[in-house]
């Protein structure tokens, strides 16, 4: 077997194993291998896998897979980790970086040594669900596709039926019920619980594919920031604090009823590099 090298990356606590096709080419990334790599005790442990390839049309091409082996959706934190990596590895010199993923073209920016910005493309419209059933209540839910399909819930709508503080909220329990509920079948949905009380948002996310809460979710944070603007009148840039405690800034331009150039800025690091020996 050829040697398999990888890089472990963290983007605001969302963690990834990254394979660079220049270093470990021809790697066969099947579901079984992905699940093994992502196992936190028997493998390397990660929320997802990133593969970086050279591209003739952009600075690089990125492939993303969830820890359960599914792929094809956007992972904004994964994109920020990939942007950090290509700069770290010396593959790009400019601060403005262009890459491809799933046939789409994305932009990123190296804000500083530790802060990486990712620009979304094709953010969908908000679909307001008026009769979402949670914890024995009917509340509103805000569905939006930011590259992945997200539901945003204002936890204040659940006052007296669930804990007031987001830190005490049963994110996994309620998130899993909603994610697997009939309404969102067959694809399921990512579920974000948000405190829209202060000038800055607090957010916790249940991610499908990971099937657990993650320490932060980039597409979910963008979804919450857009809901904050469109429904709760927040002005960009919107600051959010995910479970990891890191600071996310979601910025966008507003032109009448339209928003454009949605970006997510937050920390990203390459924690360590590794070589698989026995997996």
């Amino acid at each position: 077997m050829n040697r398999i090298y990888f890089f472990k990356c963290s983007a605001a606590g969302n963690d990834f194993v990254l394979f660079d096709d220049d270093i470990t080419p021809d790697l066969s990334l099947d579901g079984k291998f992905i699940r093994k790599i992502c196992d936190r005790r028997l493998g390397v442990g990660a929320d997802g896998i990133i593969r970086i390839k050279n591209s003739g049309k952009a600075d690089f091409e990125m492939f993303y897979y969830n820890s359960d082996g599914t792929g094809g959706m956007l992972c904004a934190n994964g994109a920020r980790a990939a942007l950090k990596y290509v700069r770290f590895a010396g593959k790009v010199k400019n601060n403005d970086i262009v890459f491809e993923s799933s046939g789409r073209r994305y932009k990123g920016n190296i804000v500083s040594e530790t802060e990486i910005k990712f620009y979304f493309s094709d953010i969908g419209e908000i679909n307001v669900i008026e009769d979402l059933e949670i914890a024995g209540r009917k509340i509103a839910g805000y569905e939006i596709d930011t590259g992945a399909r997200h539901l945003v819930i204002n936890i204040n709508d659940l006052k007296n039926s669930a804990p007031d503080e987001l830190s005490d909220f049963p994110v996994v329990e309620l998130g899993r019920i909603i994610r697997y509920s009939e309404r969102f079948e067959p694809e399921g949905i990512n579920v974000n619980f948000v405190e829209f009380t202060g000038p800055e948002l607090k957010i916790r996310t249940y991610e499908k594919g990971v099937e657990d809460e993650t320490l932060s979710c980039g597409t979910g944070s963008a979804a919450a920031a857009i809901v904050a603007h469109k429904i709760f009148n927040y002005k960009p840039p919107v600051v959010l604090y995910p479970k990891s405690g890191d600071k996310f800034i979601v910025d966008f331009n507003v032109n009448g009823n339209k928003i454009a150039d949605v970006s997510l800025t937050g920390p990203a690091q390459i924690i360590y590099k590794g070589e698989l020996l026995n997996l």
Copy 2:
């Protein structure tokens, strides 16, 4: 900063980050660094840290730290991982290996490429606790020191108060209550829930220091095997299946009322090697 290299090891699902003093000397292993390394999303992720040093009196010296930074106790799976590592790294050629840890001398044996045997020293006597309060019941508990302090509970004693099947058992919930109960203050105790029904035991362990269930625990499995022999008349070798599904063999010699040469055999692997870049 000097480069910091490590090896990620798994011994029956119990996972460790190993530092070899020959490769990364003078590493300062303080509590903060240990907790960071052991963090499963922001660090490398492990149940504990192992450090290997050369010894003038044995094949090597081993230092062990729990993921919370505490140290000084025996970790039998950690010892098996260390034995696997020194052979993997070519530090020893013999199958019989002698090492020091916390001022004691231990023996190990390379049974095969994947199976590693560790010999305990100074196993304590069983202290039968007749009135252990769990789940609203008073049952017996078997306390024994196998290098770490363990409580062994026969889950059949909790019939009708807790699930019959070990796989459904609330190990973390009940384990944590017992570990922090007044009776075992101030040091606390590791708690093993065991099915003593068939010829082979099933075991799940709540580990203090990790403060969670682990996929397997070597000192706990030895504790359960000795209780199986002394209380439930099992004959050595005793076979146990921890949560990881791996097979443990605990063997010992019986001489009247005494047991000696207690050993634990099970799988151990070096999963990958790594170099810290940003932690």
